[in-house]
């Protein structure tokens, strides 16, 4: 099967699925600096999208706009059928459907690992405490650190902290997971343990949007790669297409620098 056949097959299959994230002409400025410039993209259900690009290209800003940690100024962002506006109810609804994992983990340092994971299900999802605890323990099992439940984040390694952060996001049973450079703050030997958890998650059918510099992960797991520069989407394609046969000059330059 040729590359173009594969792309066509994928496109057809994806078209049949529901839209999870739809962005149309999204613009955002920080002061006079335009961080996002006419972003238009559709991410389908169960799709794993990796966003690549040099630093300062607006990848993180875009992903943070999707759960409104940053507000976009023009254009439309629709997540799971709900449009992001200033309406608080929409924001609350979307945030409880979208899990996010940060570069700096951002675990709550004053709470144990278990409490970090349980807190939101109890207070946002209104789950009974024992159910929430059961869920938290099963998630810790899933990310491979059930024995760390009673410790504080400060007592864990970076990789373990990031896995707790993933478990915390999963505890809200989100339909979409956003990863904002999840391995950039980790030592090399810890990157793999986090990527393994993310791979497992991707295989389980989660819709994922991942900003990362891990080309291996993009190649192996992504359904689609989006390349950004200067706040614009430069090129989109399957990993095969993207890494072997990039069309745009800027993409080629980027790939030649990192590969």
């Amino acid at each position: 099967m040729s590359v173009s056949d594969a792309t066509t097959a994928l496109t057809e299959e994806l078209a049949a699925r529901d839209d999870m994230i739809v962005c149309e002409g999204v613009n955002k400025w920080f002061g006079d600096f335009q961080a996002l410039d006419g972003i238009a993209a559709v991410i389908k259900e169960r799709e794993v999208v990796v966003v690549l690009g040099p630093s300062g290209s607006g990848k993180s800003t875009w992903i943070r706009c999707i759960n409104r940690l940053e507000a976009h100024q023009e254009g439309r962002i629709v997540v799971d059928g709900v449009e992001l506006t200033n309406d608080l109810r929409n924001i609350e609804k979307i945030r409880s459907e979208v899990g996010m994992v940060f570069q700096q983990f951002n675990l709550f340092p004053h709470l144990t690992v278990l409490d970090n994971i349980m807190l939101a299900p109890i207070w946002v999802r209104k789950k009974p405490k024992d159910e929430a605890e059961e869920l938290a323990r099963s998630l810790l099992e899933r990310v491979g650190i059930p024995e760390q439940a009673e410790k504080y984040p400060g007592q864990l390694s970076g990789g373990q902290q990031q896995r707790v952060a993933i478990a915390r996001a999963l505890a809200m049973e989100p339909r979409i997971m956003l990863f904002d450079e999840p391995t950039s703050a980790l030592d090399p030997e810890m990157i793999k343990e986090v990527l393994d958890v993310m791979k497992e998650l991707a295989l389980s059918g989660m819709t994922m949007m991942v900003v990362t510099h891990e080309m291996g992960f993009a190649r192996e797991v992504a359904d689609r790669v989006i390349f950004m520069e200067d706040g614009q989407i430069v090129e989109t394609g399957t990993p095969e297409h993207f890494f072997t046969n990039p069309q745009e000059e800027r993409t080629k330059l980027f790939l030649s620098q990192i590969l």
Binding site: L69, S96, N106, P109, H110, L111, A120, W123, V124, A169
Partner: protein, 715 residues
């Protein structure tokens, strides 16, 4: 080398052996404790400058210590004034026949403390035997030095009058007299010798070699200087003083104490040996209990004397032990403390103990109200009113509010909940507007209850959950209503305790009461102000900033004058504040501004990522603030908060200036006006300072422990 090269089979094995050897876990070498001499050499006499600084400051400390001792133990000090007026100093006019109430309060605090420490405190390993024995020996040594440094007592004649020396017959011929006359020259000489030695050793390079000479030579000279300071007092002045021998004999009890402490410390030190000394620990509380037990025991055994001011009569019985009304309650207090501590420790690991933790902390908050309004004031309840109005109203609010909470905390209440909450806020506000214009009469506590209900209603959706969860919220609301209405009823009832002045009590009790209630009021205010000042809503930000800047800009004493002396003039007829309530409000408004600034510092220290993570998991602003931001912010601001608590505690002494009979005023004005002790002030002031210091020092120590303990969860 060649043999290994020549035998290829041997190489891997040899390498493996080498690895095995290297991977043997390295034992950290035990560092032996320094001997006293080495310690001195390394820490006090390590260089010429350090040696001289040590010499000069040792002499200064000795001089200051001598001054303090001579002031404290001088024959001119009338310590009887303090001993006689203990009850005045601590409670002023609280009647003695009601004193069981005071002791009940002390006992309640003792039990709460014991339980809390036993149940909650992370005690760590405790005090090492090394530290304990060193402290014991140091205490013994300090007492011994004190005995020697203190000047000899004045000789009195048969009529008890101090004997003066005839002019011109100073003790020039004696050795002490000679030292006395030449003490300045001698000290100067010794100091010069120290300088000369330091320079000499410097050029000989002895400091670099770390030899024992400097510490020995300088040490001898320091001891000689100390000897001059001690002996000088035996030849001094125009008053005839007792001889060295009789002075030492008079201080036999002190010598005994010094010897016992030193011997106990020494026995521990030498009996255990280096390793066990450092690796054996006793729980800190047991050391504290031991010291307490010794003091209580001494009250039963040692003739401290019985002094009191009872029904206008001064009682003075120097030879007897302290009064039964003192030693018995203190013994009971110690027993309560120890027993509750042991109970707490026994419960610690059990499920019952874990369930007790929250109620115990709540009891601490509740205790000041109950102890002051229910125990000390012994309210005279108007039962007709209680049954006809108070209880029905409390039941109404408990039931009505309980239902509202149950309904509003439903997980899918949605917009309906917000509408109902806003309606309740409307009613609450209307009640206060009505009070202002006098539209309809309503009890103040009904208005406050409505306001509380409105606040709870507004917040309820943040705490929604399943049935057990909602039930817990309802129970909490009913409990709050029960406590609130009960307290208001108590506050509104007149006291049955018959006191000669307007105030229920004075002295240290006032200090403690004002400080405690100030903090209970100011702390929530401070948190709210800090949150308002960092809020996104401009109206809150402006109001909070204005409040904080105004109250930080006004001198505290002005606020006190206003609230104690003037505020009542502005109140509508029939309403008035007691002095203690006015003072508490003034203090609370003032402290809240400072606490708010401290907490704001903590809020700003919470990282942005924490806000983002809370938002990303879908917390509302209230939930984010309560569960994520405030706990971290308060933890960071503990050191400045405790600083503020200590400052507030000490600032209550300003009450004396505002005309209230607080701790300081009693020592300063009341005792010195008694016929027996006319003009006797210094003793009282020194005693008051000492008590303030004990409390402030303990608070500061406690805050250090809290900081350490909360550091566990830090990144």
């Amino acid at each position: 080398m060649t043999s290994t090269m020549g035998d290829p089979a041997a190489t891997p094995a040899a390498t493996a052996d080498l690895w095995a050897q290297e991977r043997e876990p390295a034992q950290k070498p035990e560092e032996p404790s320094l001997s006293a001499g080495e310690w001195l050499g390394r820490n006090l006499f390590s260089s010429p400058v350090n040696s001289l600084l040590t010499v000069v400051f040792t002499l200064l400390v000795l001089l200051a210590g001598r001054g303090l001792l001579n002031f404290t133990f001088s024959e001119e000090r009338v310590w009887r004034a303090v001993k006689t007026n203990m009850r005045f100093l601590f409670t002023h006019a609280y009647p003695q026949e009601q004193y069981a109430r005071v002791w009940f309060c002390v006992g309640a605090v003792a039990v709460l403390s014991g339980l809390s420490i036993g149940l909650l405190a992370k005690t760590g390993r405790g005090i090492s035997m090394k530290k304990l024995s060193m402290n014991l020996m140091a205490a013994g040594g300090a007492i011994a030095v004190g005995i020697l440094l203190r000047e000899p007592s004045a000789t009195v004649d048969s009529e008890g009058l101090v004997v003066h020396r005839e002019p011109g017959t100073a003790l020039d011929d004696s050795f002490a007299g000679w030292i006395d006359a030449n003490s300045l020259a001698l000290l100067g000489l010794l100091l010069a010798a120290n300088v000369a030695l330091a320079v000499w050793f410097r050029y000989q390079g002895v400091y670099l070699r770390g030899g024992p000479e400097p510490r020995t030579a300088h040490g001898v000279l320091v001891l000689a200087s100390a000897a001059v300071l001690i002996v000088q007092q035996y030849g001094e002045g125009e008053i005839v003083r007792e001889s060295f021998g009789s002075a030492m004999a008079d201080r036999a009890w002190w010598w005994l104490a010094a010897a016992l402490l030193g011997a106990a410390g020494g026995a521990l030190w030498f009996g255990l040996g280096d390793a066990r000394r450092r690796n054996t620990f006793v729980p800190a509380m047991y050391v504290f209990f031991g010291a307490g037990a010794l003091m209580v025991l001494s009250a039963w055994v040692y003739p401290w004397g019985h002094y009191a001011f009872l029904e206008g009569e001064f009682i003075s019985e120097p030879g007897s032990t302290v009064a039964m009304t003192t030693k018995l309650p203190w013994t009971v207090m110690l027993v309560l403390l120890v027993a509750s501590f042991e109970a707490g420790r026994a419960l610690r690991a059990t499920p019952a103990g874990r369930r007790l933790r929250v109620p115990l902390n709540l009891l601490w908050v509740l205790a000041p109200f109950v102890l002051y309004w229910a125990v000390l004031r012994d309210p005279d309840l108007d039962w007709d009113h209680v049954l006809s109005t108070d209880i029905p109203m409390a039941l109404f609010f408990a039931a009505f509010g309980g239902l509202a909470v149950w309904f509003l905390a439903h997980p899918r209440i949605g917009e309906v909940g917000r509408v109902i909450a806003v309606a309740l806020v409307g009613v609450a506000v209307l009640n206060w507007v009505a009070a202002f214009f006098g539209w309809y009469p309503m009890l103040q506590k009904a208005r406050i209850s409505f306001l509380l209900l409105a606040v709870v209603a507004l917040l309820a959706h943040n705490f929604a959950g399943d049935r057990t969860h909602r039930m817990r919220l309802v129970v909490a609301w009913v409990a709050i209503m029960a406590v609130f209405h009960w307290l208001v009823t108590l506050v509104n009832s007149p006291s049955t305790v018959d006191t000669p002045t307007d105030a229920l009590f004075g002295g240290f009790a006032t200090t403690l009461t004002v400080a405690t209630f100030t903090l209970l009021l100011a702390f929530p205010m401070g948190v709210l102000l800090a949150l308002a000042r960092t809020s996104k809503l401009p109206i809150f930000r402006v109001l909070a900033t204005a409040y904080i800047e105004v109250f930080r800009g006004v001198p505290l004493i002005t606020l006190l004058f206003f609230f104690v002396l003037i505020f009542n003039l502005f109140l509508p007829g029939g309403m008035s504040l007691t002095d203690i309530a006015g003072a508490t409000i003034g203090f609370a408004l003032f402290s809240a501004a400072y606490l708010a600034e401290n907490i704001r510092g903590g809020l700003q220290a919470v990282r942005r990522g924490q806000y983002e993570a809370s938002d990303a998991v879908g917390f509302s602003t209230v939930q984010r603030t309560l569960f994520i931001v405030l706990p971290q912010a308060l933890r960071v601001s503990i050191p400045p908060l405790v600083g503020q608590v200590i400052a507030t505690f000490k600032e209550t002494s300003l009450l004396a200036v505002a005309g209230m009979f607080d701790f300081l005023r009693i020592a300063d004005k009341v005792i010195s006006a008694q016929s027996e002790f006319l003009g006797v002030k210094r003793e009282g002031l020194l005693f008051v300072s000492f008590i303030y210091w004990i409390f402030a020092y303990n608070m500061s120590k406690h805050s250090q422990r809290i900081e350490k303990r909360l550091g566990v969860g830090e990144r």
